[in-house]
């Protein structure tokens, strides 16, 4: 079963007027793994998510989710899919339990199993004590946890998380990571879009980096780092003219660089004694790869 795919996209194209949001995307999510879709804003991550629930219909390409062809068989796929949207769309005047109850009906859980399904989702999201609270009385972190719990009531085989921690403070983010990690440990297949690099690095078995609607690199985070950014980087701080100087020098020496706002990182310096500038040495990371591949300019 390890070779089976929960999601397979081939050459998927989605256009909105003159804008091509998804441009020939290939994506594979093996069963039982967590795949992170990493990309800057506007890279096509959310459109990809919408395509997977047939809320957007692809112009070209083949899409299969849990063995069902989209969009024709999307309803069958959706029955076994859990989705956490990027924007909170809980029913805010209802209680936590009522929100879950509604979704046990939408996901067609039989009468006999509803209570247990709600109890399980509450426990998973650590909201047992909040069962009776109205959603508009919950903190931002609790609402996010409930949003995830709501996607789990029917024990989906595949979970789509669209920017699960966007706009949350670090404590809450860690809480959610623990929840997602627990889900992963249960063997649920996860596709998660994010533009937080740390999130992808911690949670994803495989990362797919998207830029301008297509995949520019895919693989386990460590492998991507080794492949594109090398082992070590040197970070040089200084005033802008100095940074420009370092950049030019490094490029002449055949080294790759990237800006980090206040500094320049010179990459792949492990085998470049003498050619590398003086500065702080650090291990290369996924952010280096991300910026290298998706560009430094903000679109």
């Amino acid at each position: 079963m390890s070779a089976d795919l929960a999601i397979r996209l081939r050459g998927v194209v989605k256009r909105y007027g003159s804008i091509t949001a998804v441009d020939g995307l290939d994506l594979e999510v093996p069963v039982g793994t967590c795949v992170g879709l990493l990309g800057p804003n506007g890279a096509g991550k959310s459109t990809t998510m919408r395509l997977l629930t047939a809320q957007a219909i692809a112009d070209e390409g083949d899409l299969e989710v849990l063995g069902y062809r989209l969009p024709e068989e999307s309803k069958q796929a959706r029955a076994q899919l859990g989705v956490t949207p990027q924007l909170d769309n809980l029913d805010t005047t209802l209680t936590v339990e009522q929100n879950l109850l509604v979704f046990t009906h939408l996901y067609r859980i039989g009468r006999a199993d509803r209570r247990a399904a709600i109890a399980r989702a509450l426990a998973m999201a650590n909201l047992v004590g909040r069962r009776e609270s109205r959603v508009d009385k919950l903190s931002g972190g609790m609402r996010r946890r409930l949003l995830i719990a709501r996607a789990l009531v029917h024990r989906p085989r595949l979970v789509l998380l669209d920017e699960p921690t966007v706009g949350l403070d670090p404590q809450v983010r860690q809480e959610l990571w623990a929840l997602i990690d627990a889900l992963r440990a249960e063997g649920t297949t996860i596709l998660m879009s994010t533009h937080y690099i740390e999130e992808a690095q911690r949670l994803a078995d495989t990362v797919l980096i998207m830029s301008h609607g297509s995949a520019v690199a895919a693989g386990p985070p460590a492998q991507l780092v080794a492949e594109h950014a090398g082992r070590e980087a040197v970070e040089v701080y200084g005033p802008p003219p100095r940074l420009a100087e370092v950049e030019t020098a490094a490029r002449t020496a055949g080294l790759r660089t990237r800006r980090t706002g206040t500094s320049v990182s010179v990459l792949g310096v492990e085998g470049a004694d003498g050619r590398a500038p003086e500065g702080e040495r650090r291990p290369a990371n996924l952010e280096d790869v991300f910026v290298l591949l998706t560009g430094e300019e903000i679109a």
Binding site: L5, A6, R8, A56, Q80, L94, F103, L106, R150
Partner: protein, 266 residues
Amino acid sequence: MAIATPPRPARLGRLERPALTGVLVREIVNYSSYWRASTFSSTVEPTIYLLAFGFGFGSLVSEIAGYEYVEFVGTGTVATAVLFSSAFPAMFGTFVKYQFQRTYDAVLAAPVDTEELVTAEALWMAIRAGVYGCVPLVVAVFFGLDPAWGMLTVPGIAFVAGFGWACFGISVAGFASSFENFNYVVSAVLTPLFLVAGTFFPLSELPEWAQIAGELNPLHHCVELVRHAAFGWDGWTDLVRLGALVLFGLVMWRIAIYAMTRKLVD
């Protein structure tokens, strides 16, 4: 790599009962949190119309088209109550759920299609219209309208009319790109239809072209049916009126599904 092949459940069809139930449950559970406000407005509003017109106007005209004015208005405002509890909540509710609450994103990610979503929401508003539509009649009975067996059909008439108007409202929300667009519909469509329905004055006093136009107004058919339910049926004419309401409902239903599919699935 091979694609995972799950055990295939029977192919899921269109307009499935579990999907409709799911959406209805969402509406009913939500209703439990706001039923007071909605019942209040649906009850008080037609009562005010009834009192204002019934006594205000009723002091000038005691009889109209062979009925006492309170009876005339009491039966007529059923259609008003139906309109207010279907078209308006459909327009505003649908737009809010789409634009601000993003409810539909969540519902459509579940095994529910747009067709089922629209149908269930329209059914729910039709049920409410069926119940709230009876309020003016009950109030009118307190003010002297004689109860009649035929009145037992009023919830059914209000349901059929309410379904059409709910679908009308959903369609408007589906085509509108902003809240402001609703103003055009309310001023140019709903207000004239509401006034030229035979609710407050009979259409027979209007010029002929307006009478003919009135026959195309679904609200007018609702008014006439309710009046006949209270005062005596008019045979085939009433069946044709009922047919017109059913047709209105069916056409609006398909338009609503088209409009919402266009809006929700891109």
